[in-house]
Structures are given as C-alpha cells and as structure tokens.
Subunit: 133 residues, 2 copies
Amino acid sequence: MSKGLKQTKSRLLILDVLDKADKPLTAEEIYWLIQNEEDPINLSTVYRTLEVFLNKNIVQIPLMKDGNKASYILNRDEHHHYLVCDKCHTMIKIDFCPFDEFEKQVEQLTSFTILKHKLELFGICPKCQRERK
Amino acid sequence: MSKGLKQTKSRLLILDVLDKADKPLTAEEIYWLIQNEEDPINLSTVYRTLEVFLNKNIVQIPLMKDGNKASYILNRDEHHHYLVCDKCHTMIKIDFCPFDEFEKQVEQLTSFTILKHKLELFGICPKCQRERK
DNA sequence: ATGCAAATGCAAATCATTTGCATCTAAAAA
DNA sequence: TTTTTAGATGCAAATGATTTGCATTTGCAT
C-alpha cells in the first residue's frame, strides 16, 4: 500500500468498496457493504481507516452530508463537483470547474494561500421537473 | 416576529446575537454569548429556535463546520462565500461570486434547474503563513 | 523466523444534537 | 382586561455518530 501504510485486508476492502461506489459513502455504508463480502471488519476500523486515508489524501469528504453523517469518496485527483437534486437527491458529477481564475483573485484580495475549494450545486433534476414532485 | 412565530425573549436574543456576529456561530457559541447578556436561556432552546429559524429560512448553515458542530448565519439574502484557514480556522467572507455563468452552463449541460450553490475555499491565512504553524 | 510498530476488535466514552414531559407565556378569543 | 390555548421553554435523559483506551494481532523490516 502506498504512502507508508501497511497493506491490510481492511484497508484493501475499504478501498475496493470506495472504488466501486458510484456515490459518496458513509462509514456505516462502507461497513455494511463489507459485511456482505467475505471477512467482517469492525466499524471502529472503518472510521480509523478513513481518518488515515483522509490524512494521506486518499479519500475526501465532499460537502453534502447524508443527514449528519460524513460521506467519503476516493480522491481520484480529478477535480469535479456534484449537483444534487433537492427532491430525489439524485447526485451527478460535473466534470469541469472554471474557478482557477476566481481563486487567484481571492488570493490577491485576502493574502490567503488557497489550497482547495468545495462547491456544490443544488436544484431540481429533469425527472423531478417533469413529475412536478 | 415575522413568519407566524411567537415573539419571545429567546428568539429576539438569538436574532440579535446572530445579527451582530461577523462570522457563523455554533449553537453553543450563541448560547454562551447570551449567558453574557441579561437573561439566561437554555441550550435546547437555542437548538430548537435555530431549527425553527432554519425551516423559516431566517438562518442558514454554511458548509463549513467548526469541528463537527453546525454553524449558523442570518439569511440576509446577500450571496457570498467563506474562506476558511485550515490551520487556525479563521473564517472570512468573500463578497463576490462569479458563478452565474457557470450555473447557466451546467443547466444547459444537465437540464437541472439550479436553485443554489454552496462554495467554500480552504487555505492558509496570512497569519498562519507567517507563523509557519 | 523474530521483533516491533502499527493496525484491529471490543466495549466504553465523548460530544453535538434531540426529545419527553411538565410548566410557562405570547397572543388570540371572549 | 381576563380567559384560553397552542406553541415555547427548562431540565434531564436519550440518541446517534464518531472517538478512544487497552489488550491482542498482524504486516513487514531485520
């Protein structure tokens, strides 16, 4: 395993689950998905692993929360954002991001060094518009 | 009090504290700020009031969290974003937002109707840069 | 193979937030 | 103004996500 981490079964399983996921997963969701696999793994381990992965920048927590639980995604070093439907919570990825220029302006204005940004868009998806939900 | 709410001392105090604040406040910060004022008020009341205010759109929760506590700001119907220092959590308001054009593009691309967006920038503030914390 | 630092399981602790319930109070009705 | 009552509050206990202490296990460097 990269970044000076021991390669353990739990960590590989968690990475695998996150890799296959098509949406951000909570610690508990990861936990249950792994129960369905071969070897059980403790919920504390999931939390501890996710924290290590966060520190190593292997995973990220996007802005949206599922209730008050944090969700995690693999950091694929692609930069993108999510668009979330307020009605049905459909979540789609937006693959472009025009904010480099904006960040430069803010850096000049504030003297901060900007490291990252999080953006999320909320609206109504086409399906819900049709169904007037 | 507007929006069909009873005008109570707690609610007026909470509104006042939020109005005077120059940054998002957690429920507990609001609670302590009010202890310093004349009349004490219960922490549950702060939480309950904030929830009512949220539903009435009188306050909003910006994206950033102080640790894992939610922060609240008065909804002033101004649109702006926050810049947060990763080290000392200093939080400053950015008063301009260039994303209308971007939203239009995303609407065309996805057929979503976009209602709002949340953006947050993270970096290191000038003070922490100097102190190399 | 051996030793050790790091990882894990388990149970208990933590901490923000919520809730049940008895009491109180703003404001509508009389 | 007094009465009425739905909604607001205080208090203590419950909840639920996340963290932590500690004993045990396991990668992996020697």
